[in-house]
Symmetry: D2
Amino acid sequence: MKKTICVALTNRTNYSKLKTVLFELSKYQTIDCHIVLSSSILLERYGSSYKDLEQDGFKIDKKIDCALMNDSHEAMAKTIGLSVVEHATYFARRKPDLLLIVGDRFDMLAPVVAAGTMNIPIAHIQGGELSGTIDDVIRDVLTKFSSLHFVATEGSAKNLIDFGIKKESVYNYGCPAVEYISKLDVGDSFDPAHITKKFKNPIHVAKDEKYFLVMVHPDTTNERDVDMKKVLDVISGFGLKTFIFYPNIDAHNAEIVSSIAKYNNNNNFFMIRHMPLEDFVYVMAHCVCMIGNSSSGIRESASFAIPFINIGERQIGRERNENTIDIGADYNSLEATIQKSMNQKVGNSNIYYQEGCSNLIANAIAEYIGVEK
Amino acid sequence: MKKTICVALTNRTNYSKLKTVLFELSKYQTIDCHIVLSSSILLERYGSSYKDLEQDGFKIDKKIDCALMNDSHEAMAKTIGLSVVEHATYFARRKPDLLLIVGDRFDMLAPVVAAGTMNIPIAHIQGGELSGTIDDVIRDVLTKFSSLHFVATEGSAKNLIDFGIKKESVYNYGCPAVEYISKLDVGDSFDPAHITKKFKNPIHVAKDEKYFLVMVHPDTTNERDVDMKKVLDVISGFGLKTFIFYPNIDAHNAEIVSSIAKYNNNNNFFMIRHMPLEDFVYVMAHCVCMIGNSSSGIRESASFAIPFINIGERQIGRERNENTIDIGADYNSLEATIQKSMNQKVGNSNIYYQEGCSNLIANAIAEYIGVEK
Amino acid sequence: MKKTICVALTNRTNYSKLKTVLFELSKYQTIDCHIVLSSSILLERYGSSYKDLEQDGFKIDKKIDCALMNDSHEAMAKTIGLSVVEHATYFARRKPDLLLIVGDRFDMLAPVVAAGTMNIPIAHIQGGELSGTIDDVIRDVLTKFSSLHFVATEGSAKNLIDFGIKKESVYNYGCPAVEYISKLDVGDSFDPAHITKKFKNPIHVAKDEKYFLVMVHPDTTNERDVDMKKVLDVISGFGLKTFIFYPNIDAHNAEIVSSIAKYNNNNNFFMIRHMPLEDFVYVMAHCVCMIGNSSSGIRESASFAIPFINIGERQIGRERNENTIDIGADYNSLEATIQKSMNQKVGNSNIYYQEGCSNLIANAIAEYIGVEK
Amino acid sequence: MKKTICVALTNRTNYSKLKTVLFELSKYQTIDCHIVLSSSILLERYGSSYKDLEQDGFKIDKKIDCALMNDSHEAMAKTIGLSVVEHATYFARRKPDLLLIVGDRFDMLAPVVAAGTMNIPIAHIQGGELSGTIDDVIRDVLTKFSSLHFVATEGSAKNLIDFGIKKESVYNYGCPAVEYISKLDVGDSFDPAHITKKFKNPIHVAKDEKYFLVMVHPDTTNERDVDMKKVLDVISGFGLKTFIFYPNIDAHNAEIVSSIAKYNNNNNFFMIRHMPLEDFVYVMAHCVCMIGNSSSGIRESASFAIPFINIGERQIGRERNENTIDIGADYNSLEATIQKSMNQKVGNSNIYYQEGCSNLIANAIAEYIGVEK
């Protein structure tokens, strides 16, 4: 008999982690995979990134509109409450044998609380990591509700077991997003023609031109985390082209968004709400230096041997590759650090990479719900 | 300046844990304590136990009606979703400096998810215990969202620290409910006149008459947990009077409730939806034997030196006093075990008891939010 | 191309009105009819009357649990709010070409507000009637949101047109419930074997024995409507068997329910939570007298030539058949009125009856959405 | 004893209608007036118009965030559902003796359904008007739920009475917004220094310069209502400065917003999200011609003797002053009509104006709830 898996995604980074796993699961004739989206992945304001799934041929089973038009913490809590109600309705209809989730973001609480209450087993990708922020709480809560754990490093596996999770439910197969991007052909140097997405304000970066990549997310535990204004001030001083990505949806992103907006007239700066994963990886692979507090800097940039300058405390506990340079809140050192990193070679080994990761994950899920390919 | 604490209660057992702590907090002129109730504590069907707070002189600041009229898992999940929305509204109005919670029940997820998302620090009483059921998941989730942890035993403290909780936020002060009941004057023997609550169907237990106490809750992780029918069959065979308590609100309590209902015409059986804590403790203190899977058997009955026969797996991991006899699913042994326990003496030491517990907890909370008495 | 109709039902009386229309619609190969239930029709406490649909072979597409466990007005309002959310989710999935509704009860506001906001045309059965209560407001609101109106009398048609409704959208085809019950074979006299429903407390009414039928609903506009206690006091004096029906779900039914409960030990009284429609009609057809404030007394009892004693103001504006005797709040006259009515012959003509009603309604709906049989 | 009135506002036009009534009510020592806001009046995207209340010294008692980030009809319905839940919570706390509302917009359904279900009497300003759109349905629904009706014209009063509303509950006191603006001192000619609001993109209209005013709202009943592109094409041909106002929140405003956005680089066009009422009236009073489908054109522009060119069907049934010129969907005639209207004198009489309107309304409300000044 066929089994049903529901896959919940809530933001743009979820999909990069799940993409290859979804392809592997789709090879199973015995599994019906239903994709349910909610929160920022659906929002125009965050790049309508659900369209990436559609372009890759995935059918979206249900879009749950639950994000309230307000960035307050009260609205954020209500968004979760409403999303719990809606996911309960959805799961009651689909009756999944398993819910597959990924990550550590607050909006994933909703499908998980609903599924947990409804006795639906949950498989979680990317538990056990530490970043030193509220994300750690959410990540561990997602872990607690889950029955199957796919972690990316030995350190994460150990964390989960210390945490009371049964060893036999923890699988260290590496990170599927890192596996995926490591196999992308990014060529030897930057060519703007390679970027598929068309932007309203065209991006003027020439072939082989040097540029920066900046990606900062709010840290909801601290009222004030990265001082985006200072970061952009320093970077603008270099006079290089810069790709600046908008932050995730969160209670305090207004500040970061407004700092970005102030540079609207800087012709070197290109503000990006969303790029398809492949474009993003291509841009990352050829930048002279990545700056920010995004987990993609910590986890993914190493595969392309580019330096990552990590700012603030959002990633404080996460296992690092050798390409990460931490400056904390020392903005005075930022200019020198960038200068130095631009002239330094780093290797491309990546502790988050394992061969065959997505295939192994899909197989373990299939075994858990009792189906064969 | 005055500080504000919100205290969330969701079921009848919450209050017994918080009662003395609330009295201690009320001694602080510098603290405004607001009580917010939701879920089963408000329901007539579960004894309208919120009235106990009112009788003790506590003002209820907000009653949140969120329980849907259906025992399905879908309805349970929606109840939580709606409760998150309502608690967010409430916290936005009260702007508490701290939320105080207790326990391990699913309906406490709602205030905690709301407060967690709204960056309100949470103090949690009774973390770190193990019972071997879904309650463990909820309890650990509540712990993860909390900043201050009041545990009842050394074992619980150790569990939390292994779990990644910072040692300095864990306080082992014992269980405030055990402290409270240990100080109640229960006299030397049973006298029905001592019971204050008046029942529709009067309870005919004579002075010094022998009787049993039965308390079984559903275990939502297992479709079928305690076989209530078998339990009541065995007990009815003894021909003794028996106090039988209705289960907590949960997706699967219908089965237990219906097993109880079948004995409606057994004149030895008294079905109790709710008793004030003091009456309950009085009944517990003088029974010949307590039978069931309730945590009050594990934690509280020892203080009165009465045997507790623990059935099923609901309390499997919880630290035990010497008065607990585990029979698991071996219903054939129940009769003999009851027989034996009725003729055995047990001591009244209790690992959950510590002198001054409630006062210590209130002081630690006050210190955390920065006020003096 | 096939068209989709959603049919929303919220309480037990809805189904009696829609039953034959649903059968007529099911004859259309070109129409997919989806039934969505919410509110009291789903509740055990109100007889789980959704089971009647299942027994008649109708598939229920979606059950929306939205009733909160509290009879307060606040909870009632939230039940509607939650139900609007859930109906919006449901309609977004089914994308109906039309929503079919019936009646005048507050819980029908939810599907109607959702459909109205989502530009889904609504066909309403039973608009234009007057009962002198809050139901009038709800009924007119349902009318305002509707595009197609099936009324039961000339008076109702006129009311709608005065009300600003376009004449060409008003169809006076009679009441489908009256059509249905008028065709039931109720025989010449009462035989208890004819009642199909089995009750926990069996009904002891002998063949041809005389009995009363009492049906009272709360009137939510008035704090105190029918004085149920006085009604039952008078009736009990007659010493006849009596079928007493529980009221609809409403904010103030607690009082009526408790008045009924006081007579639990009167062996002449049979308290009925729910009966299948056919059983109810059979009981109505042979009672010596029907007493209460239910619209079924006003509309349906006439078909069986039995007297209906109408109490209070709930039906004050509704068009009456000749079998209705109004006593208002004059409880002193109740005994004499019952006495008199038992000895009086009334005719069986019924102003709510029209031949072929359900077929005409189904055809008009089909024409509106543009399909042929 | 003091009485409590809650006043619900949902969009920017509500406040202009209520402003003077709120001032009149504030003169009553015996009345506590609590203002509750929800929906678009709170949204930055629609000009955060709640700030106007704050600037006028009104305290906002509760802001209800309920607008979902999506313009779909499904999201709009859920916004209402959530808003019903939140208003029920709010009313349960405030226990108002009366709810005061105004207008005809869908988001006002939420407070009204909540209050109606909770038996709170409602006073409605501006019932009985006709505009030929879905607004008519909402307006009549609001009327049906209300107990006290303040209409603006004899025609509206007659409509309500035909509609079944009791004559003695209908008060024709004129429109309080028209009363208010008619008393504003707008001087003899335009002076940009008079506009108090500061805009990000400054408005370059010189003293005494001629300009247009354009205000178009979506008509949710018709998929395509005003063709905004055609309107702006014609207007841009005149080469005059133009104030263009963003539409209300509604399911289909995306199209209008995007038509406006296309003219971002037209230096004659000034796009306005929101202006304080006084600024708006000043701009309206001196324009050469107002164009659009807004009720302010129909109702208010006459007081300043300026021509209003009414496009589409949104205002089809509303009573007109002599300054209104209807062109329907005949966009070809728009240029000539504008040309002609610019050279024509119109009088300043206004059928919506009555002296002392707001005072009379406040007094009638006070009498209804039984208080004296």
